[in-house]
Symmetry: C2
Subunit: 291 residues, 2 copies
């Protein structure tokens, strides 16, 4: 594997920050479209199922997308059982909505995705991930999420999920204080937020800055970072962050209910032990975000 020619771009997709790189071998490209915002592609990989990339950054693979989507959704949903109205910003592949739709007590899901190409490519080529994008409770808007929350009514959601790509291109504005001030305003009292908050190893600057931004908006003791193993994201160590508007602590969830839910839906990654454990951060990660 020391021959650089083996990394022919027709055979490998490479997600790199110029100091480390994750390369995933592909069989073929199934979808390619340049949208006004970004380049959206779907590949068939050799052993990780189909894979969605945006500007050649891995968004998900069928092999481990459940780890990300289950942890982003079920941690807040199983902490607060009275969540009725949910807003998803981003999430065009549909995995987040698929997991939300398992919660029968939900009333509405509003999803705001800026790029219809992500939705279209996912519906066509990633049907297992996009399976709930026609769900009757879902209102899917192709719009700018930043503008949407700026104009949304105060206290209108119980849960807001920021399921964004990395902070380059159209997602850049999802990593700013003014965006999270709007998110906070749109949340009902007791409401929750979960956020894709980057890799402490691969994107340490974005990870730290976003965490500090969330602490400013929500207060330090209402912001809880947690980690998920996602082997097909560079570094394999990805962070999500749970914030509450004077709401429940993420470890106050009911273990029995979480266990029953995970078994009922045959979840792949999430279980009650993992819910609790994900918040136990290695000391050096705690130190990175300590203030």
């Amino acid at each position: 594997m020391n021959n650089p020619l083996e990394f022919n771009p027709d055979e490998w997709v490479i997600d790199s920050n110029d100091r480390t790189a994750l390369s995933i071998r592909i069989k073929e490209r199934l979808f390619y479209e340049k949208s006004p915002y970004q380049t959206v592609e779907v590949f068939e990989t050799c052993d990780r199922g189909k894979m969605l990339t945006i500007d050649r950054m891995v968004m998900c693979t069928e092999a481990d997308e459940a780890s990300y989507h289950e942890m982003l959704v079920h941690v807040p949903m199983l902490t607060n059982s009275s969540i009725k109205d949910v807003l998803v910003i981003g999430g065009g592949d549909g995995g987040t909505v698929r997991e939300l739709a398992r919660h029968e007590n939900l009333k509405t899901i509003t999803m705001v995705e800026i790029d219809e190409v992500v939705v279209r490519g996912s519906k066509q080529f990633l049907p297992d991930i996009a399976s709930a994008l026609d769900h009757p409770k879902l209102k899917l808007l192709i719009e700018d999420g930043i503008k949407f929350v700026k104009e949304a009514a105060d206290s209108s959601y119980d849960l807001i999920i920021i399921d964004s790509s990395d902070p380059v291109g159209p997602s850049e504005g999802l990593f700013t204080k003014s965006f999270y001030q709007d998110v906070y305003r749109c949340l009902r009292p007791g409401g929750l937020v979960t956020v894709q908050s980057e890799s402490p190893c691969f994107n340490p600057k974005a990870f730290v800055e976003l965490n500090h931004c969330l602490c400013q908006v929500f207060d330090n003791d209402k912001v809880h970072c947690y980690l998920v193993f996602i082997p097909m994201y560079p570094s394999g160590m990805w962070s999500l962050t749970y914030c509450s508007k004077q709401g429940l602590h993420p470890l106050s969830f009911k273990r029995d209910r979480a266990t029953q839910f995970a078994q009922k839906y045959n979840l792949s990654y999430y279980n009650a032990d993992v819910h609790q454990s994900a918040f136990a951060l290695p000391t050096y990660i705690k130190n990175m975000i300590a203030q």
Copy 2:
């Protein structure tokens, strides 16, 4: 990053299983030697400190070696506070011995490394990792670990740590039932073992087979797999396995003692919460090793 020529082997070290690959950018190579067993190299990386590779497989980087060594050593040592005599198989870089040496109540450490080149290269170029390789309690033998345990006396160690490289080359025999039968025999009653047990994602076959092998030798309820984030190992998700010979459960450790120890030695990764949480496996990993 889609130009394959950027992966010039003078600039990148690539650890690959031909379906996924982790590439780490290097500034220069500090050490290169072909031993009778393998090719040992030390590199200066761009942002992960110095890195040891064997046959171009990443053994450790200064940036995250503590995660691996702390979890391999302190989980058993802080579970059983009466461990006196420890055997380390492999571990030529010295990180495992460095962590063991923090435990003042230890009486002896016997380390059996097959390849003196790993020890020499580490002492010269990775002094922060190899810092305890001249420790007065350490007996360092350059020998075949498989032969060593075959000939070792029954019930002679309280803890045996298998700090091996991957199951190709000289480490292959460290992944067999006959080796672990000898390990079991050499353990005192109540003794513990921790093992580098591969990545469930990158080396799923070795991960599953080793786990099943350990369950055969130690019994299912005495074998406990745990996970560590190691971003510079391919997939970032690495497993270690804790086994006991009719000994303590790994979650029976005293939290206060673990917390005090971690603070006293300013550990990077290990803390009491992480000790507990590492054993909470995602459901799909549990299913991989269920029997």
